[in-house]
């Protein structure tokens, strides 16, 4: 191992919210840090750092992923979606529903909740989720304010809204 371990940088190309980025990152850099520090995407939160709290959730190639456990190098060539992408054309129905039921208290977990709910409704396409489907999809997300029941309520409201839009043929 040469001296200056970690000084070497690795070229990485990835898409974040539809925008292609060409970066040079540290081999040990987490996707979470690349998003926050290099790209200014601060919706992803550094919570537990071990995949247990869901505050850093993103969607990578259609899969839910804790960005604290994924090295940026491992995200090379892949498609990353965060809340910034989900709400790029105004608040998403999931966000509106969370506001409507007063789900956010301290708010730290909310971006992760939005991502997990978006994954369930829009990526997996389950627009008619049962309570258990919602709980399962949000099983990563810890909320220390204890808004779990409101999350389930909000996701179901959002699902209803999305179903209605779909029936009317409305896009976004």
């Amino acid at each position: 191992m040469p001296k200056g371990l970690g000084i070497r940088e690795v070229p990485v190309e990835l898409r974040v919210n539809g925008v292609k980025h060409v970066l040079r990152v540290k081999p040990y850099e987490r996707l979470l840090d690349t998003l926050r520090r290099r790209l200014g995407i601060t919706s992803v939160k550094d919570g537990c750092g071990r995949g247990e709290c869901g505050a850093c959730l993103v969607i990578v190639d259609g899969e839910l992923a804790p960005s604290c456990l994924m090295l940026t190098v491992q995200a090379r060539g892949r498609d990353v979606v965060t809340v910034e992408g989900i709400s790029s054309r105004g608040l998403h129905p999931i966000q509106e529903a969370l506001i409507k039921v007063n789900a956010p208290q301290c708010g730290f977990c909310i971006p992760g909740v939005v991502v997990a709910a978006y994954w369930l409704l829009e990526v997996k396409g389950n627009l008619n989720p049962s309570d258990d489907d919602v709980r399962e999809a949000l099983s990563t997300n810890l909320c220390r304010c204890g808004s779990y029941h409101r999350f389930v309520e909000a996701v179901k409201i959002a699902a209803e809204e999305l179903r209605a839009r779909k029936a009317l043929g409305v896009r976004d």
């Binding site: 970690g6 070497r8 081999p27 995949g51 869901g54 992923a65 090295l71 491992q74 997990a116 099983s139």
Partner: protein, 295 residues
């Protein structure tokens, strides 16, 4: 958390790099166990060898001529969505899937990675033990297959050569009238190190247990193992609650040595092991005769 990363061209390249740089190089797949280990300072590798680029070749679940092959880079999500969990005989994998980490961890964590941790909390090792699975290894001197219990030699210890990588897990489809169950007990349903976990494979004939494989997170070592004495005692026993419970209560304490730690006492773990074993055997047995998932 400081390390350099090597992105191999293929499996052979990965093996060669790991071989040349042993023991300073460590393979990374999903990273759900490895990254926290490194963050905690329990592991200080100089190099990580990123296997994520090999996923195309090593992510599969095939069921052919009574043999199941699961690629090492198959994620837990992919395993849960595969044809395997739809088979009556493998309903135990559905049980396992539900309590494995959480939704996001399951989309990163891989089958080979879980086996590679070589810890008692690795649910798939427990399950593969009940199925007498073999693990495919590929290294600089070619490839070979080794039994799961032989491979998982001790806590965080794999009996493999430097440079060898886990490529797949192979096991047989059990005979007719067989099924599986997996139960894990913890303080909550997900994202936990279980206090106790058990996997059972049961074959039933005329209401009687014809054959049974009973695996635990720990029996008498610090890694998953099988309760052979109890298995022997259960053969020929009618598939009924009291009968099964009686045999387990009699035999299991003779072969199981449970340790106490801050999570639970050894005595409690043994008690829970008996209860969960009875439930797992009965559930697997009822599924074996067409009882379905909820049996």
């Amino acid at each position: 958390m400081l390390f350099d990363i090597y992105i191999p061209r293929d499996l052979v390249d990965a093996s060669e790099f790991l071989y040349r740089n042993a023991p300073d190089a460590v393979p990374i797949a999903g990273g759900t166990d490895l990254i926290p280990m490194i963050r905690d300072g329990k592991l200080r590798p100089k190099y990580l060898v990123d296997l994520s680029g090999l996923k195309g070749r090593l992510s599969y679940v095939s069921i052919d001529s009574g043999v199941v092959r699961v690629g090492a880079l198959t994620t837990i999500n992919a395993l849960g969505a595969s044809a395997l969990t739809g088979m009556e005989a493998f309903l135990g994998f559905r049980d396992l899937y539900k309590t494995f980490g959480n939704a996001a961890v399951r989309s990163l964590a891989t089958v080979g990675g879980n086996v590679g941790t070589a810890v008692s909390a690795a649910d798939l090792i427990v399950m593969f033990n009940a199925l007498d699975a073999k693990v495919g290894l590929s290294g600089v001197n070619g490839s070979r297959y080794v039994g799961i219990r032989e491979l998982v030699a001790g806590k965080r210890l794999l009996a493999k050569e430097p440079g060898e990588l886990i490529t797949e897990v192979v096991f047989n489809v059990p005979p007719k009238n067989s099924s599986t169950a997996f139960i894990k007990l913890g303080y909550r349903e997900g994202t936990i190190i279980g206090l106790t976990s058990v996997a059972a494979l049961v074959t039933v004939r005329d209401g009687v247990i014809e054959d049974v494989k009973l695996a635990f997170d720990r029996v008498d070592r610090r890694v998953p193992g099988r309760a052979y004495l109890t298995e022997k005692g259960l053969k020929g026993v009618p598939l009924r609650d009291e009968a099964v419970g009686e045999v387990i209560n009699e035999h299991l304490p003779r072969e199981m040595r449970r340790k106490s730690d801050y999570r639970a006492s050894g005595a409690y773990r043994l008690h829970v092991s008996k209860v969960l074993a009875r439930r797992a055997v009965l559930t697997a047995g009822r599924r074996a005769v067409g009882g379905g998932l909820g049996a």
